[in-house]
């Protein structure tokens, strides 16, 4: 109920009721997109990756933010490797 699942908006099915067809891992379902339209025309939502909760798209997945989080993790990994290497050489 609270976890949600990512999917991609492939079509607008009912503009008046703000309903769109969302493809979730190959399964297509009608989803309410009222929360993510914002100031845009509704057709502009097609192609968006969204997080779907109980039949409602609740958030557009922010690719830049996702990339930033992953970048921090990569950096942390590199830093850890360096620290490990320093420790190993310190013992030598």
């Amino acid at each position: 109920m609270c976890l949600g699942i990512p999917g991609r908006i492939v079509a607008i099915s009912n503009a008046e009721r703000k309903l769109a067809t969302v493809d979730v891992s190959g399964v297509k379902r009608e989803v309410n997109i009222a929360c993510i339209i914002g100031e845009r025309p509704i057709e502009a939502c097609i192609g968006d990756w969204v997080l779907v909760h109980v039949g409602f798209a609740m958030s557009v997945i922010d690719e830049a933010q996702a990339a930033e989080t992953l970048r921090i993790l990569v950096e942390l990994g590199e830093a850890q490797q360096e620290i490990a290497a320093m420790r190993a050489s310190g013992r030598a």
Binding site: M1, C2, L3, G4, P6, R8, R17, S25, E30, N32, A34, C35, I36, I37, G38, W49, L51, H53, V54, G55, F56, M58, S59, I61, D62, E63, Q65, A66, E68, T69, L70, I72, L73, V74, L76, G77, A79, Q80, Q81, I83, A84
Partner: protein, 381 residues
């Protein structure tokens, strides 16, 4: 799938665990006095067990499982109310599947269904609306529960019913709200917490600024966290880093989903349909001021509470059930006397054993049950 696999990368997990171990050493903690990090949200509890995250961390760090599983905190009396509505002639009662097996004082919704009540599991409140359109001579009731994550979906559904003039749809509103709940946790004298993993999807709706008081007034670090293994590990690392550096701030690890100001359209729908209740009764935690919402007068004709006669009784949990103490983090699920014996996911006594987001069900499903039983015997000896 978009940004799911990327956040399950074992290599990155290994470096995060190494970083967490390093910070734990810096903090010079003792395993008899571990750091207590509360994951507020049941989704995190589920992730922590599903991916075995607690076992990846050093023993000096312990998770305290918070009250953020809406099904688990539902008091028995409310389930009785659901059954009473569902057994009213002419009613189609719709609910998320999670709530079907929560025990009431006499029966669960699943048992009521077996006894002949027309109870249907739905994926979305919109499915309940569709049932109302298709069955104009029946009254379709949707059982709305959850924190701010699901609250907007229910609000939009009521707004849609109102726009269409559907007269045979109503909502039994049991939505709860996170901020007063967190304040109650922070005010509880029994709880010693060092930091929080903040609920990712509640924050997607309400934003992250609303937690500022936790850092400012209560001086606790909080990191809004996602639900993949790397999200949880990185958030634990960020909490530890704050503690090690003597900071207490609200940080957002889940920026890809949760914006600082939340979701404007969702918040405005919620504001339009719901208002705060004076108090709401929680299983195990008792009554918490302003922790629930009800429907505004303007939407009274969609309000099941106004439409139906319900017992609305306060029913105590069974004596053997220690859900309350588990919910408050005072005991671990396996320390409850009936855990895994009289109370299992097949025959739950308490709500924490019902939902997959409940701490007891998570321990039962993913925990080392033999090991836990040995530990319990050792504790008792």
């Amino acid at each position: 799938m978009q940004y799911v696999d990327e956040f399950r990368d074992p290599e990155k997990a290994a470096s995060l665990i190494a970083a967490i171990n390093d910070l734990t050493k810096t903090l010079a903690l003792h395993r008899d006095h571990p750091l207590h990090i509360m994951e507020v949200c049941g989704g995190h509890t589920h992730a922590i067990f599903r991916y075995g995250i607690a076992n990846m961390l050093p023993p000096e760090i312990e998770f305290v499982h918070g009250p953020g599983c809406p099904v688990c905190v539902l008091p028995m009396g409310r389930v009785d109310d659901c059954v009473a509505i569902a057994e009213t002639p002419g009613v189609i009662f719709t609910t998320f599947g999670d709530a079907m097996r929560v025990p009431g004082s006499k029966k669960s919704l699943l048992q009521a269904k077996a006894d002949g009540a027309d109870i249907r599991m739905v994926y979305s409140p919109l499915d309940a609306l569709e049932l109302a359109r298709a069955n104009p001579t029946r009254e379709v009731v949707f059982f709305g529960l959850g924190f701010e994550t699901t609250m907007p979906s229910t609000a939009f559904t009521v707004l849609q019913a109102s726009a269409e003039g559907l007269m045979n749809f109503s909502l039994f509103c049991n939505h709860i709200t996170i901020i007063p709940t967190m304040r109650a946790i922070l005010e509880s004298p029994e709880l010693r917490l060092d930091g929080f993993l903040g609920p990712g999807h509640v924050s997607m709706v309400i934003g992250t600024r609303v937690y500022d008081f936790i850092a400012e007034q209560y001086k606790k670090p909080l990191v809004v966290a996602g639900f993949e293994p790397l999200d949880v590990l990185q958030s634990v690392w960020l909490v530890l880093k704050q503690i090690a550096e003597g900071r207490c701030e609200i940080e957002n690890q889940y920026g890809r989903i949760a914006p600082p100001d939340g979701n404007k359209a969702a918040l405005s729908a919620v504001e339009q349909v719901f208002e705060l209740r004076e108090f709401f009764e929680w299983r195990g935690l008792g009554s918490i001021d302003h922790s629930g919402v009800r429907m505004r007068e303007a939407y009274a004709r969609f309000d099941a509470e106004r439409k139906f006669a319900m017992p609305s009784l306060k029913i105590e949990d069974p004596k053997a059930c220690e859900c309350g103490d588990v919910l408050k983090g005072l005991i671990k699920p396996w320390q409850c006397k009936v855990f895994g014996t009289a109370c299992t996911p097949q025959t739950p006594l308490g709500a924490l054993m019902v939902s997959s987001e409940g701490a007891c069900a998570a321990y039962y499903q993913y925990g080392d049950l033999e090991g836990l039983r040995d530990k319990r015997h050792a504790d008792a000896a």
